[in-house]
């Protein structure tokens, strides 16, 4: 009974309210400690030497002069990170990405590192390291990389997902196909077919806090790592594996995280910090500069996508296909595969085929970015959907409603949907006042839908009742945006006590069992579910304590509104016992009262959103301005509505930046030209309007409160919503993201020509 995950409808008392967050005070006073905000006595400063070449053989690294410099305590190369990966190719890729072994694979690839008594000494030491490179031909463009004469990025990679197995290496790391039905027949049956190709450029998650850590490893094999991360347990496992340490002997403490969005789910330089510390036998603080964050962490893929949709004049889609080329950076990934899975997830299609090509290029190893791979696929598909609607003279929203997926639809990636929110979000769009707002001169309106999966995963939590009846929660999912508040609300709800009596702590890796990362919109969903079960375990114990106190069978005790009640006429003289009463008496009823839960939260639902935006394009300069923006998304159950709104608005803002301005610019030598916030232009306060939000609540049948993950889906529709709006104003279909002023200008000029 305690671990029943099925949704049960109920009136909530705490969940759904908007109390202030517990970490707010520390964050507004500067007391909160992020990755770079801690210091250890005797700490050294670490710095990393990085390749300036996109692709080069490393023939020699001479560290002798650096090692002799006064104040330098350790210098490492890949020799200090021996290969312990034992055939695990993903782990080997991580190892090679942390530090180049025989080849530098992208501009920014780490080749050596030093630890010294201060920053100037460390910088001097880097300059004294002599690296001899033989420059190799490189490739940075996703379509160039699949040409037959393209330089091979990884000679050990052979295309997977094709039959027969290939005999020579390829930059196509993987081919993934999804779909069902017969698209050939479907296209034959269509009255109208639209075929179009799209490109999107590489972007970065753009978190304001660079990666930083403080590592301390002793010669006894015990170590500590303070680090900004979305998953300290996963980091522990990976770092321990790479360094040959026992997992239990490495304690990882997560700092407050200054933004992650998926980019802090992978290790980048943490193994280097640990290796330096181990060699120097002193703590090493390693902080990335902003330049390093752009060049040497995990941005998204750039993409090249071909879409084909066939439709009958009555508006029903007869067939849809997509060929998606995504780059993975220099190491194989699943990014195109994810794009192929999500492309048509919003629609009910009889015939659909999507093929994803994961392609290697000489760029940094692609990392997850908030609903990874979905925004680009949505841009291509949702832009084409509008083209099709226009061609048959149907309103774009009605066209989507006519073809929207619903409960019982076979999804384009395989499984059949349970209750989902795409229909309701579209209906809400139609009703929303934004759709009726008057557009001014040079303004256009666009809308689009988006989809993303939600995950569960391994989760472990403790709930302890203190002697005064207040409650501590110990959780292992890092708080990115307010989950401590939501988890406290959930515990308060279950126990029937005020929110203010609950304190939620994020533990280090030594204090709890394994917890998966805070990603995949799973933080509140998984830890929340685990807290519910831990609370129910605690309630079972509380009822037993009450039963013992009264001397009655425990089946006669119920828990209601924070109190144990003896039910039945024969017990009517017994006064109820509060949580505080039972806590105070706990030493005589069996000791400390607690609830623990270790679960694999699974069967998380899927999440849909629809966005509307109005864009103004200056007729002379093609500069764009976002005039109005509305997010409508299904949250299942909004535990703390302010924070759900915050997720909607934040994701939309990132999507807006991606759609209009953000891109990685490489020169002909494969060097990143804009590794800084001046030229990698993210939205600033004056770029954006207020972002309206509407939270829909279609309960997730697999969560006791109906909670769905909300963090990611809101970044999926913006590229397409804005694409549709800009195309509306410019009078030409925009096919290349970001739709920066020069691109809009060119598109208009090309059409006029």
């Amino acid at each position: 009974m305690a671990n029943d995950t099925k949704f049960r409808n109920r009136k909530f008392k705490a969940v759904g309210t908007r109390p202030p967050r517990p970490d707010g005070l520390d964050k507004v006073t500067g007391r909160a400690k992020y990755g770079a905000d801690t210091f250890a006595p005797g700490q050294l400063v670490g710095r990393v030497l990085r390749s300036p070449h996109a692709h080069a053989q490393i023939t020699r690294i001479d560290t002798s002069k650096a090692e002799k410099l006064n104040g330098v305590k350790a210098v490492i190369t890949s020799k200090d990170l021996p290969d312990l990966t034992d055939g695990d190719s993903d782990l080997y890729d991580t190892l090679e990405n942390c530090m180049a072994r025989d080849r530098a694979l992208y501009d920014g690839h780490a080749v050596a590192a030093v630890a010294a008594i201060d920053a100037p000494t460390a910088r001097k030491a880097l300059k004294l390291i002599r690296v001899t490179y033989t420059i190799l031909p490189h490739v940075t463009d996703v379509d160039e990389a699949i040409k037959p004469d393209a330089p091979i990025v990884q000679p050990r990679v052979y295309t997977s997902g094709v039959s027969p197995k290939p005999k020579s290496p390829s930059n196509v790391a993987r081919v993934s196909e999804f779909g069902h039905g017969d698209v050939e027949a479907g296209f034959k049956a269509a009255d109208i077919i639209v075929e179009k190709s799209y490109k999107t450029e590489q972007t970065h998650q753009g978190y304001i806090e660079p990666h930083a850590c403080l590592a301390s490893v002793g010669p006894d094999g015990h170590g500590e790592l303070w680090v900004t991360t979305q998953g300290h347990f996963v980091f522990r496992n990976t770092c321990a594996a790479l360094l040959g340490m026992d997992v239990a002997k490495l304690t990882v403490t997560p700092s407050e995280v200054g933004g992650g969005f998926g980019g802090k789910t992978h290790v980048w330089m943490e193994p280097i910090a640990l290796a330096l510390s181990r060699k120097a036998n002193r703590p090493v603080k390693l902080e990335m500069t902003r330049n390093e964050v752009f060049r040497s962490t995990g941005p998204t893929s750039s993409t090249s996508i071909d879409v084909k949709i066939g439709v009958k004049k009555n508006g029903r889609i007869t067939a849809a296909s997509a060929y998606l080329r995504y780059h993975d950076g220099a190491f194989p990934g699943i990014w195109a595969m994810l794009g192929a899975m999500t492309s048509y997830a919003c629609y009910d299609l009889k015939n659909v085929k999507t093929v994803g090509y994961d392609i290697l290029v000489n760029r940094p190893k692609v990392g997850a970015y908030r609903a990874p791979s979905a925004p680009m696929a949505a841009f291509a598909v949702e832009s084409t959907i509008n083209e099709v609607a226009t061609k048959i003279g149907m309103d774009p929203i009605d066209f989507r409603i006519k073809n929207a997926a619903k409960e019982g639809t076979k999804s384009s990636y395989g499984p059949t949907y349970g209750p989902i929110g795409i229909g309701p979000t579209l209906a809400a769009v139609k009703k929303h006042p934004h759709m009726r707002a008057q557009l001014k001169k040079n303004q256009g309106r666009g809308m689009a839908c988006g989809f993303w999966f939600n995950f569960g995963g391994e989760t472990c939590t403790d709930l302890n009742i203190c002697v005064d009846g207040t409650v501590t929660l110990t959780v292992g999912t890092v708080d990115l945006s307010g989950s401590r508040t939501s988890l406290s609300l959930i515990a308060a709800e279950e126990l029937g006590i005020p929110y203010e009596r609950v304190k939620c702590n994020i533990s280090d890796t030594a204090s709890l069992g394994h917890n998966d990362m805070t990603d995949g919109s799973r933080g509140t969903f998984s830890s929340g579910m685990s807290i519910i079960f831990a609370a129910r375990n605690a309630i079972d114990d509380l009822c037993q304590r009450a039963a013992d106190t009264w001397g009655i069978p425990v089946k006669d005790v119920v828990w209601k509104d924070g109190r144990a009640l003896a039910k039945g006429k024969k017990h009517r003289k017994l006064k109820s016992l509060s949580l505080d009463d039972l806590a105070a008496a706990s030493s005589n009823t069996g000791g400390p009262i607690a609830g623990h839960s270790q679960i694999v939260a699974d069967g998380a639902g899927v999440s849909f959103a629809s966005h509307i935006c109005d864009i103004e394009v200056d007729p002379e300069t093609s500069a764009t301005k976002v005039v109005r923006y509305t997010v409508i998304q299904d949250a299942g159950k909004a535990v703390h509505p302010d924070y759900v709104e915050g997720q909607f608005q934040g994701g939309a803002a990132q999507g807006i930046g991606w759609a209009l301005n953000e891109e990685y610019v490489y020169d002909e030598n494969g060097r990143l030209q804009n590794p800084g916030f001046l030229d990698y232009r993210v939205p600033v306060c004056s770029d954006l309007p207020f972002i309206d939000t509407q939270i829909l609540e279609i309960p997730n049948p697999n969560h006791p409160y109906g909670i769905r993950g909300v963090g990611e889906t809101s970044i999926v529709p913006p590229l397409a919503a804005i694409g549709n709006a800009v195309s509306d104003v410019a009078g030409v279909r925009m096919t290349h993201v970001p739709m920066s002023p020069p691109r809009i200008r060119k598109a208009i000029k090309d059409k006029q020509a």
Binding site: G161, I334, A368, P415
Partner: protein, 81 residues
């Protein structure tokens, strides 16, 4: 007997079949039977797999019971951000 549909990337490991027949009561049994019938599937499991049972996606709960005549779909393991 359950009809287990395989998503594109997994079909190659099952000799190109789009679906296979397996008898199993839990996800764990299902995967064990699958690997017995198609040894090539072990690599897919090691790489990471997700199982959809009647539309719910399970990435780790291998003790999850499978209702009779459930729709089963095997997907590659998905990752979030």
């Amino acid at each position: 007997m359950l009809k287990v549909c395989l998503s594109g990337p997994l079909q190659a490991a099952a000799d190109g079949a789009a679906s296979v027949s397996i008898s199993a009561m839990t996800i764990r049994e299902l995967l064990r039977e699958l690997v017995e019938q198609y040894p090539g599937m072990q690599k897919q499991l090691d790489d990471g797999i997700a199982v959809s049972v009647n539309g719910e996606i399970f990435r780790d709960s291998w003790s999850e019971e499978i209702p009779e005549s459930a729709e089963i779909f095997l997907l590659p393991r998905i990752q979030g951000g």
